[in-house]
Amino acid sequence: MIEWATEAERGQVVALVLMGGQYFSNGIALNTIEHAAKAATSPEEADLLAGKETWANINAIDDVVELLAGDTHPDRSLFLVGKETLVQKGITTIAVLRGNAAAGGVALAAACDIVMASANAVINPAYRAMGLHGSELHS
């Protein structure tokens, strides 16, 4: 969707503003991952399915973050190879946290060029409580 919004056919886009809704983002949806494990017939299989779903979701959000970050180095993920990055198109990325953000959502916002937040937004960048190292280019 971000790629669609910033295509040349949309006109000369100068800023991409991510607003969010009642909350900005909490990263990957853990309930989606839990649901993926429902088809399992054993606890081990449940963990395996959940692990695969986690992996797929993490890569998806990483793709978004890498797109927003707009690194111009040729060493980049395959889906960005050969394409102009947002910064090369002259597009500034702005995250506006109208509501709360946590974990991957914080990292996603922080990957933008400008981050604005409502005074009553609560921001929780921690991954560790969930036993996760974390991704989304947070490092």
Binding site: V14, A15, V17, Q22, L30, N31, I33, E34, D47, L48, A50, G51, K52, T54, W55, I58, D62, E66, A69, G70, D71, T72, H73, D75, R76, S77, V87, I91, T92, I94, V96, L97, R98, G99, A109, A110, C112, D113, I114, V115, M116, A117, S118, A119, N120, A121, V122, I123, P125, A129, M130, G131, L132, H133, G134, S135, E136, L137, H138, S139
Partner: protein, 441 residues
């Protein structure tokens, strides 16, 4: 944390009030007033706060305030020019390193159990057995929470990069050869930093200097005669060290003579050899004349089976090759190959030459053995990128060989092929007690 606290940390650039902010829950529907404030903040000509990479100004913009009009220009300046001082690797390096850890969280026997249990408890709102210690501010005598210990991330004996092979059946990204330092060090310890080792160091520390030199040495433009002194000086000048720290770094760590591959990289390589239980013969530690002999090489293959490329050479008792050339000692096979066409040689992806390449540094498997023997393996495998080169590795000196190896690594395909027997990787992690205690062969 609050938005204000996040702003102090640099996670947020601008905090805006919104209407009805004192009410809970926040009002539904669009808040036009808030959106108007956002719009005004990014109007052309209005000075704004932005991320650090947007503050790097092009020469023509020095002295000009940051506005929405200059943000992308500054960011391009950052990506293009500031990267030239070797302090900013591609973001994909960070991504691959993080994903490597996430793979462990998803599938590693220890870490995935921890993650899945916590995830299930969170989603299903299972009642917590006790208050996490980080919230128990009234009781400082509580045992430290597991999360506050470095062991929380422990994976025991695990070869770096194995998770990609074992859990996904893929090779790992080449960037992982030297991207270990990009991980955030939550609990810093004094770690000996070696040129070709993974280093987890805070940027800005004295060891960051060594980190920079490592990256310089690893770059694909490696040149034995390249004077690293000026490159490192450039980094020191651009770094955020205080003037006193800068002087300290230059005075203590920058040799008086020009910092070249010969004077810096090779001695560090010798240190790494010792760390892996290999004892270079005395003449090899001397690099003055660069005249060390290299073990005979198997030429790149145009032949059929990979295993047929393996050549086995038995050393004499004093560590010499039968033709009188000296050798770099090399750990022996975990299960010693029985003959030169032993398929395990090719399956393990043995490096092209007899020069030992520490697993941690290049992500290639070492071969170890607990059986006392003076036999060494000199082999090549067409499966490896090295052997696809038309020209054979140079044999005139150790430094040219070292250069050749590093250049091959830099030029090799993005993905290093996984070993067929991933089980062997579990023994090849650095710091394995058997390896460290083995000492000289």
């Amino acid at each position: 944390m609050s938005a204000e606290a996040a702003a102090k940390l640099g996670l947020v650039d601008l905090v805006l009030s919104r209407s009805g902010e004192s009410s809970f829950p926040p009002p539904l529907g669009p808040d036009y007033d808030f959106e108007r404030k956002v719009s005004l903040s990014i109007s052309p000509g209005v000075e704004i706060q932005a991320a650090p990479w947007c503050l790097c100004k092009a020469p023509e913009d020095r002295g000009v305030p940051i506005t929405i009009d200059t943000v992308t220009r500054n960011k391009l300046e950052y990506f293009s020019n500031f990267r030239g001082s070797f302090t900013r690797p591609p973001l994909s390096f960070y991504r691959n390193e993080e994903l490597s850890q996430m793979l462990l969280d998803c599938h590693h026997p220890h870490r995935s159990q921890r993650y899945h249990n916590r995830r299930r408890a969170f989603i299903r709102k299972i009642k917590c057995g006790k208050t996490p210690s980080r919230y128990a501010m009234n009781n400082q005598s509580l045992v430290e929470d597991d999360e506050h210990r470095p062991e929380f991330d422990d994976v025991g004996e695990w070869a770096r990069g194995l998770e990609w092979c074992q859990f996904l059946g893929e090779g790992f990204a080449k960037s992982m050869i030297w991207s270990g330092w990009t991980r955030i060090v939550l609990y810093p310890e004094e770690t000996k930093f070696s040129m070709l080792s993974e280093g987890y160091q805070y940027e800005g520390s004295l060891n960051a200097f060594e980190m920079v030199v490592q990256r310089i040495a690893m770059s694909s433009s490696l040149n034995a005669s390249l004077d690293y002194h000026s490159l490192v000086q450039e980094w020191v000048d651009a770094s955020e060290c205080s003037p006193a720290a800068r002087e300290d770094i230059v005075g203590k760590h920058l040799p008086k003579s020009a910092l070249t591959f010969d004077s810096w990289v090779l001695p560090q390589l010798d240190q790494d050899l010792e760390q892996f239980g290999m004892t270079p013969s005395a003449s090899l530690s001397s690099t003055g004349s660069g005249s060390q002999m290299i073990a005979p090489l198997t030429p790149p293959s145009s032949g059929p089976a990979p295993s047929s490329q393996a050549t086995r050479t038995k050393l004499t008792d004093d560590g010499m090759f039968p033709n009188g050339t000296e050798s770099l000692l090399f750990p022996k096979a975990d299960v010693a190959p029985k003959s030169s066409d032993d398929p395990s040689l090719a399956a393990l992806g043995i490096p092209l030459v007899a020069a030992p390449i520490p697993t941690r540094s290049f992500g290639l498997p070492l071969i170890m053995s607990s059986a006392p023997s003076t036999e060494f393996i000199v082999a090549s495998s067409p499966r490896l990128p090295f052997s696809r080169e038309a020209s054979p590795a140079p044999t005139d000196s150790r430094e040219s060989l070292g250069l050749f190896i590093l250049e091959q690594v830099a030029r090799s395909p993005t993905v290093i092929p996984p070993p067929r027997e991933s089980r062997r990787w579990s023994r090849l992690n650095s710091g394995h007690p058997d390896l460290l205690s083995r000492g000289s062969i």
